[in-house]
């Protein structure tokens, strides 16, 4: 990094250290012109705190592994520029809410992944490898509904943003229900009825308060609350049809 990168101002960074029991530790690094939250955490680990634990992989918003709580809101660290989130020249960085804390900024993602199973997520095909690929019309209502809800990067930002997940340990949460909605709109899925039953089971979409915090925070601009509304509507109208 050349000296011109820096604006010579010091950025105050408070980072959660420890597990469930832990504390915020203060660091100071130089503010740079172009700096993401992931850059900040990386710089602190490289220069000040070699034992700091955090997760990332792609650094470009594809893998979904870098989510953390930044100044109180869940965000993807690699695509969050600090100039958009810093307040009083301070960043407070904590692990995601609603997941067990493993070490520093790293959470146990297993409970989140389990909610996908609970929502009937495994795809189960109607055809074998010997059949022709199914013809799905790109402009069919089901395809359009599924399209709008695909591309989830499994980052758990929505899961962390959802208050009902926080209150109700049975609640599947936005990402799992969003996935269920894509499946019941997939003509190739042989267990649409079962997925629908599970998505509407205990802790299913009936528990959602529709306050939309998931949609507000999803970094790839999916709308889990709309998918959940679709599931609820299907309780009246039956499974979607092509």
């Amino acid at each position: 990094m050349s000296p011109t990168d820096t604006a010579n101002e010091l950025l105050k960074v408070r980072i959660w250290r420890g597990r469930e029991q832990g504390r915020l530790v203060d660091y100071e690094i130089e503010t740079r012109k172009n700096q993401t939250v992931l850059d900040v955490v990386t710089e602190i680990q490289h220069r000040l705190e070699p034992t700091l634990a955090y997760r990332f992989a792609c650094r470009v918003g594809v893998c979904g592994s870098c989510a953390m709580t930044v100044n109180g809101r869940p965000r993807w660290a690699c695509r969050t520029h600090i100039k958009n989130v810093v307040t009083d020249n301070t960043l407070t960085i904590e692990p995601l809410r609603n997941l067990p804390k493993l070490k520093d900024l790293v959470c146990d993602m297993a409970p989140f992944i389990e909610t996908w199973q609970k929502a009937g997520a495994p795809f189960s095909g109607t055809a074998t490898r010997h059949d022709k690929p199914a013809a799905v019309k790109p402009d069919s209502a089901m395809r359009l509904a599924a399209d709008a809800a695909l591309q989830c990067i499994n980052c758990a930002v929505c899961y962390s943003a959802c208050d009902v997940v926080n209150w109700n340990p049975d609640y599947i949460g936005p990402a799992g229900l969003n996935r269920a909605w894509t499946l019941i709109n997939d003509v190739r899925h042989s267990k649409r009825e079962l997925t629908f039953e599970l998505a509407f089971g205990t802790g299913g979409c009936g528990s959602c308060h529709s306050h939309g915090n998931c949609t507000r925070h999803c970094p790839v601009e999916l709308r889990p609350s709309e998918s959940i509304a679709g599931l609820k509507r299907a309780a009246f109208s039956g499974l979607p049809e092509e």
Partner: protein, 107 residues
Amino acid sequence: MEKSLFLAQRITAMILAPLAIIHLGLTLFAVQGGLTATEILNRTQGNIGWALFYSLFVVCAAIHAPIGLRHVINEWTVMPRRWVNALVIMLGGVLLLLGLQAVAAVY
């Protein structure tokens, strides 16, 4: 089960909304110039229309409220699910009983 409860709650809400508006509207209208028990009884006694109106109201409320309360208790307390279910079923029964009794009393 959850789906049936969800449907029951939403359908009763759809019925309750207009009933509640009519009830409130009527109360506001009737209360002008004071309201006496005789006045109310004059309107309701022997009037099968109002009796049916309020019976429907009571039945819907007795279905709607316990389902909502069940969610609230499950979210805010650690009470075991079965207890919660028993509690809200009882609440529904009480609402139904008291409500229908009140309807019968003014009929």
